[in-house]
Amino acid sequence: MMNARWSVYLVRSATTAAPFALAIAIGAVVLAATGHEPLAVYQLMVEEAFGGERRIAATLTAATPLLLTGLAAAVAFRAGIFNVGAEGCFYLGGMAAAVVGYASPNWPSTLLIPLALAASGLVGGAWLLGPGVLRARLGVDEVVTTLMLNFIAVDLTSWLVNGPLLARGSANSATPQIVSNAELPRLLPPSTLHLGFVLSLSLVVAYGFWGRFSVEGFRSRLVGLSARFSRAVGIDPLRIFVGVMVASGVIGGLAGGIHVLGLVHRFVAGFSPGYGFTGVAIALLARNSAFGVALAAILFGALSSAGANIQLFSNVPLEIVEILQGAVMIFAVAQFGFGWAGHRLGP
């Protein structure tokens, strides 16, 4: 009994680590082919990501948006909804928080920050209500709708900051700065690590408890495992579909809002380097578990914070890090394909 359980855990952690191992192997080949010493580069990367308080703070800062976009994807995936719309929500939520943040009078932080975050969550949730209802009522594939809505969200916000919301006297496609009371406090000055990391991590932890102990968490997991069974025992899968889609949108919107209030302090066109899509890879790697989302987000955060520094201190190009990230995602998705082949069920 014990052995069987251990082997299950062993297989599970091996399959989770496999995409990273394969990506590291591929990265090593690329590095060696371009005349670098793979081990030395990797060692440098680990040092840059985790060597000392300042670097760890940078890694956690980079992980902050990923915690929430990963969470947004995981919430939907676990109910069998393949929502890839977190990217769009990230933009819209960021925009909403920025608008509240600069247009409001200089109210106290305790009022302004919740207000701005509520706006970002609301906009994100409303954005995905449509795909949720379309999936539930008409069986429209949510992958297509949410993917397409991402483009609309990116372009819509880009148009807004180039027109109506453009900061006066600014040539950038950006809104004005938010008022200082709307900024999330820094945790370890001078590093940029901000309160948003704690907020995001708490949400991930809350998700873990929700999934394990709450009635709705139970229902959405059951619907994800078998929609037909759920229907037969009286759980309405369609209601769950809409619910998790909106929840996912709220979290995606919050991710953008926190990014604006904590780090960027205004909305800039194109301000996400694909956080929403990295979130999809994170949720897949994590198999929707809260612990896995936190771990994978921090790993991806480490990759990007190390990547930024690594070309300063060596002649390794930044692109190698992007190749690594891309390879991890490809293997994560390929692995997902194995596990999920034939799993998706009709409404």
Binding site: S214, V215, R221, L222, R228, F229, A232, V233
Partner: protein, 511 residues
């Protein structure tokens, strides 16, 4: 064709055995289909017909024994190999490309190629017309498959086999999707093809059409061939008895002559249609009283699934009304049905009755997670759930490892007990039990029967749907016959016998 005529067995099986896990789907099956004959294979669900057909088509391979072609044992490497040897099959789910026209579907993957590698549509059309003439059917070849009615799609499937040069046609329950008039057309088509030199092997539940069209009939039950006969040497009742099996001495549950006067479930003018819009059930009137077991006897495909769907609240009826416990439930959702006191044991245990990938605990509380006993303010009370699950599962002697193990870790019989534990633990007023002992061994069956009877004795009502005549006879207080979607008769237990119920299953009045 002349060469064909000299062989005795065009297609057959010799001692074919195929096991899935511990279940013998085919147990030393022998089959001999003579050239230019129509050979029917009949049997209930789980008799092993489909497994045998898959083996004859090369889709599956026997563990032991072999497929016979032209009197010689062969080893089919796959369906393509079977095709090359002249064997073609029409599956229950049609394999057509819906957006393409009938003509395009006919020639798909074997297009006549003309000048410059282009498809020669003129040749295709000529061939299509020739085949339609052989089969004696008129077809508008320009129609797209999505717009074509079911019987036309089926004719197309058959013509496509001819187009590909098959002379042995395997038809898997070809009439299941057809209306009565279309069934006549199909039988005529089959006779025409036989006269034209083809060999047809077809599977059916419907004994009347088998008697009318077949030259030879092979009866299968529980993976074995129990008899091979001809329509001249047998009769409908004899066929039915061979198919269902002799009544095994099962522990019979005491019948209740007089149920309570409390009307629980009342359906009037109930009509249900399938996804294609074909009427499958009704109009049907049905009353179920508290404290009685109503057994529905019928060969599968006669409206049972639709009756179950309507009674358990899974689907809305197309017409008619359903009252349950005094309230109108015609348009109510599944969760309303359950809240009002309807329990449901699905015939499809693995997909609908249980969620095999979820834990035993989760399966036990599924649908009841909001109940006060299991959650407070939206938070699951894991300790209380574990206590209740252990209590209920122990009472039903379910053998399991731990509650966190997946339901798939249980044996078939224990899986069904888990489903029963969940449904009966809710103390519903009406239990809709579809094939409650399918795939369960004899001891398990007796135990499940005693559970259902105990539920009735506590005042519960049961709608029992079963293909097993033994089960219907052993449990039901009242037996209704369902044939072609209609109720054709009603018997109480005292009046019922294998013969009388068997006749009802065939649509004859239970006189």
């Amino acid at each position: 064709m002349t060469e064909m005529a000299r062989v005795e067995v065009r297609l057959g099986a010799r001692r074919v055995t195929r096991a899935f896990g511990s279940v013998l789907a085919n147990d030393r099956v022998d089959l001999s289909v003579a050239p230019t004959t129509i050979h029917a294979v009949v049997g209930g669900n789980g008799a092993g017909k489909s497994t045998l057909m898959r083996i004859l088509q090369g889709v599956d391979r026997p563990d032991e024994g072999s497929v016979i072609l032209n009197d010689r044992p062969v080893r089919l490497t796959g369906p393509a190999d079977a095709y090359a040897r002249g064997i073609g099959m029409v599956h229950q789910e049609f394999m057509l490309a819906p957006p393409l026209t009938l003509l395009e579907n006919l020639v798909l993957a074997r297009e006549p190629v003309g000048f410059g590698g282009l498809i020669d549509w003129r040749a295709a059309q000529a061939e299509a017309d020739r085949l339609a003439k052989i089969a004696g059917v008129t077809i508008d070849w320009r129609l797209r498959v999505v717009d074509a009615p079911v019987h036309v799609r089926q004719a197309l499937e058959i013509l496509r086999l001819l187009y590909r040069g098959a002379d042995v046609l395997i038809l898997d329950e070809p009439t299941a999707v057809l209306a009565p008039a279309q069934i006549e057309d199909l039988l005529a088509l089959m006779r025409k093809l036989k006269a034209e030199g083809r060999t047809i092997l077809f599977i059916s539940h419907k004994l009347e059409e088998v008697m009318s069209v077949a030259d030879k009939i092979t009866i299968m039950r529980a993976g074995r061939v129990v008899e091979t006969t001809t329509p001249a040497r047998t009769s409908l009742p004899e066929l039915a008895r061979a198919m269902v099996g002799e009544s095994i001495e099962a522990a019979t549950v005491e019948a209740r002559a007089l149920p309570s006067e409390k009307l629980l479930f009342r359906a009037r003018g109930l009509v249900a249609r399938d996804a294609m819009g074909v009427q499958r059930l009704g109009p049907v009137d049905l009353d179920i009283f508290a404290g009685e077991i109503v057994g529905v006897a019928g060969v599968s495909g006669n409206g049972q699934d639709e009756l179950v769907g309507s009674a358990a609240g899974l689907t809305h009826p197309a017409e008619g009304t359903i009252d349950f416990a005094g309230g109108d439930m015609t348009r109510a959702s599944t969760s309303h049905f359950r809240a009002a006191g309807v329990g449901y044991l699905s015939a499809d245990r693995g997909e609908e009755g249980l969620c095999l990938t979820a834990s035993i605990r989760d399966n036990f509380i599924a649908g009841r997670e909001r109940d006060h006993a299991f959650s407070r303010f939206g938070v699951l009370q894991l300790r209380a759930i574990a206590v209740e699950a252990e209590r209920a599962l122990t009472r039903l002697s379910v053998r399991y490892g731990r509650l966190s193990d997946p339901a798939s870790s249980l044996s078939g019989g224990n899986q069904q007990r888990l489903a029963i534990a969940r449904e009966v633990d809710r103390e519903p007023k009406l239990l809709v039990a579809a094939q409650p002992t399918r795939g369960v061994d004899i001891a398990g069956t007796a135990f499940i029967h005693s559970l259902i009877a105990a539920f009735r004795d506590r005042g519960g009502a049961v709608l029992l749907i079963s293909e097993s005549l033994d089960e219907i006879l052993a449990l039901s207080d009242r037996i209704i016959g369902l044939y072609n979607g209609r109720i054709v008769g009603e018997l109480n237990r005292r009046e019922a016998s294998v013969d009388r119920v068997g006749r009802m299953m065939l649509g004859q009045k239970a006189a």
